[in-house]
């Protein structure tokens, strides 16, 4: 597994393919502050890839670069063998990349069903006219999309809150709905920004299970940012560790866990 050539097989028998996304020598500055400096790594087809690091390490910035929201001053982002120029968010979505947010970004007044349906937006083709009067293509399309949404509701076991406005739901469930919305776009690459932040142990276990099941059932490549080391080590295939905008570790969980630089970054270094 040390060899990062053309794919590998995980201990539990999943076949991981070639790189889907490669970031090369990324440097991102905000004015005089360097958020990321000279970072390179790749995300491979079918893996669960984690980006971890202490507070302010640059994790979210990194995700925003992958997502195309930030444009780094230096370095290149390659997606499926193509170098990526500056793009608008909807163009990214059309490439098959979906994400969730650290501070839930759902439509609070809308139902779970409608929120997840909004994730299908990029897949709707009927004209505005036929949508407004809901006939012909729009009607057929909605039936199709509704079925896709119902499959996600079933998958995430949120049938009971199908029609509940999401603003009324507890935090853990809102996170799950957000995952549902991201899944609705049928992404090939799913980015999760702290999917387990603020959850209790039980909710974390549920969420971990869902992330693994998404990866398993749909073959979705997943890149996630997480704070909680324990959870990350349990569910990811490879881990990138950032600290103060630099990459200080990259490899399978067990390797990273025993890496002195990583331990120092998390636990601190004693003063001489």
């Amino acid at each position: 597994m040390k060899d990062m050539g053309q794919g590998f097989v995980t201990p539990d028998g999943r076949r991981i393919g070639g790189p889907v996304m490669e970031v090369k020598n990324i440097t991102l500055r905000f004015g005089g502050v360097t958020a990321l400096s000279d970072i390179s790594f790749d995300i491979r087809e079918g893996e669960v890839r984690a980006i971890i690091g202490p507070n302010g390490a640059g994790k979210s910035s990194m995700l925003n670069v992958i997502n195309g929201f930030y444009h780094p001053q230096e370095g290149e982002v390659w997606f499926r063998g193509q170098k990526r120029g500056p793009m608008k968010p909807h163009q990214i979505a059309h490439q098959g990349i979906a994400r969730t947010f650290q501070n839930i970004a759902l439509f609070k007044g809308m139902s779970t069903l409608d929120n997840i349906m909004s994730g299908r937006l990029t897949k709707m083709k009927a004209s505005m006219f036929s949508q407004a009067y809901w006939f012909g293509a729009a009607e057929r399309e909605e039936t199709e999309h509704r079925e896709a949404v119902e499959r996600i509701i079933d998958f995430l076991e949120i049938q009971a809150i199908r029609k509940t406005p999401v603003g009324r739901l507890p935090y853990g469930l809102q996170k799950r709905v957000e995952l549902g919305r991201a899944l609705a776009a049928e992404p090939s690459l799913l980015l999760l920004d702290e999917p387990m932040a603020g959850m209790n142990v039980e909710e974390k276990e549920d969420m971990s299970r869902f992330i693994l099941d998404v990866n398993d059932e749909f073959g979705t490549t997943i890149a996630l940012i997480e704070h909680d080391m324990g959870v990350v080590m349990d569910i990811s295939d490879r881990v990138v560790v950032l600290d103060y905008g630099r990459k200080i570790g990259d490899g399978p969980p067990d390797e990273v866990r025993n890496d002195q630089a990583v331990i120092d970054a998390y636990l601190g270094v004693p003063h001489e």
Binding site: D12, E147, I153, D154, Q159, A160, R162, D213, D216, E217
Partner: protein, 654 residues
Amino acid sequence: MGDHVAPPEALDTLPKILDWNATARAGLPASREKAFGIWQSFTWAEVREEARAFALGLLNLGLAPGDRVAIVGENRPRLYWAMAASQMCGAVPVPVYQDSVAEEMQYVLDHAGARFAVVENQEQVDKLLSVKDRLPALERMIYVEPRGLRRYDHERLHAFGEVQARGRAGADRAEELDALIASAKGADTCVMLYTSGTTGKPKGVVLSHDNILSAARSSSVFDDLCAADSVLAYLPMAWVGDFIFSMGQAYVCGFSVACPESAETMLSDLKEIGPTYFFAPPRVFENLLTSVTIRMEDAGKLKKWLFRTFMDHAKRVGPDILDGKPVGFMDRLKYRLGDLLVYGPLKNTLGMSRVRLGYTAGEAIGPEIFQFYRALGVNLKQLYGQTEASVFITMQPNGEVRADTVGVPSPGVELRIDEKGEVWYRSPGVFVEYYKQPEKTAETKDAEGWVATGDAGFIEEGTGHLRIIDRAKDVGKMADGSLFAPKFIENKLKFFPDILEAVVFGAGRDMCCAFVNIDLGSVGNWAERNNIAYASYTELAQHPRVYETIRAHVEAVNRSLAEDPMLAGGQIHRFVVLHKQLDADDGELTRTQKVRRTIIADRYAPIIEALYSGAKEVFAETEVTYEDGRKGKISATLRIEDAAVVSAQRRAAA
């Protein structure tokens, strides 16, 4: 209404009746399930085909007549089909409570010697895998829901569809299957149900096809059930009631059984399906009423006024209208108006618009709760039953429905009360035996076929209705010799929506004391409306104002107990509000939510001691078991309060 044509009496097993239904009722709906948000129906012909394919698949996997097949999961059509399929093969289905922890499940599967297990999902597969070392007999597991199981070792694990595909491919064994179905007799075992048992390990009650069919046939006639009826199967499959309603009566009458999407969606599924025949333990009716009460308290003034005015009217005349007794014209008119404005919409919200027959059993139901539903026009009745009786012992006939009795003997049932006051019965539904426990069988069932219920009761003079007081072994004497019936007192306490559970102590003591569990839904809502902040269940439970409320309830119970000279000695002198909810996972309740007295007395011994020592507070630390089997501790200092009792002197003076 639909057909009342019953399958011929000569058909003496469930699979034979299924075959008959597949022809005689081919196009009628048999099973319903919500898949991806839309209700799907299966006709009797389809159900037979699905079950047969599964049965052939089981034969192919090596299932032999006489084998036991464990069924674990929430109510799913496929699990019901798996039960029918097992019976076709001459094997015995053993439904198991799906929320049991791995240890409990291991005991039941091991005791039953199950060779096959048909389970719902990954959760149950994981549970059984975790104890498979101690289940030497278990050979194969079949799951309904494939999610998360893709990467498991499939050598002895199969998907439901895969087993059916095997069966369809190997249809050449169809004749063998037909022969197995034809050779089965009514005396053969139909199902084995493990009773949760308030004491000791669960016992496997063996019920024959004759037992199940005689109970199902006579009760269907008693209540005029037909193919046009429908039920929602949401109670545990391991419970005898569900087996009778969703398999026995459904097969005999040909009505359809709908399975809820998930346990949490039960209420909305109820509303969508609108069953005509509905069974629920008192707890469910209580919860529904509590949620209505809570919502009414949050409603606007006009709505509150409408609700109160018309509910008062309904309580006065509703039950009489339901029973067909004479009611004045103006009262009828007002009731009709109320139906339009309040009762109709309310029944619709509760999912009871179409209910023409409702039953409750298992525990005593509060008279207010009972009357509430009857006032709305829901024909809610009580029955008294046991697993050992294939459910039915007594039932209330239409027009003779009261909250304080459990009805007259069901068709074919003989009743007698022994000298100690214990109720005995004998009927065609009486169980064959406790599996592998002949000595227990002999203790319960005598040579003439009479079965002891374990309940103390009496037959009311004049009406012939049976009234149950308490568990026979729980009815005790206090130190001064007066009667102590804890369940009777506890039920009085539990009729208050604020109180979820209560345990009363007093046998052999000079006074009664009580543990109380608050109902978080009801008390939590009250706290919110009164701006009472709390961080946890424990903190809310110990709040002085909660104690004030509970004390008022306890004192009200004392006043009502004092009215009956036989029970006046059972008034509650001191009580404590517990810091944690009594829970089946901790062994404090049975899986059917009945209090396990001895275990509770043991676990909370220091609190009981404090109650009787006169202490003002007590420190309690309790171990709790989480659903995944891990353990933790909850500790708190609990207040103990005195409640006013009505003394004998004052009663004499009054």
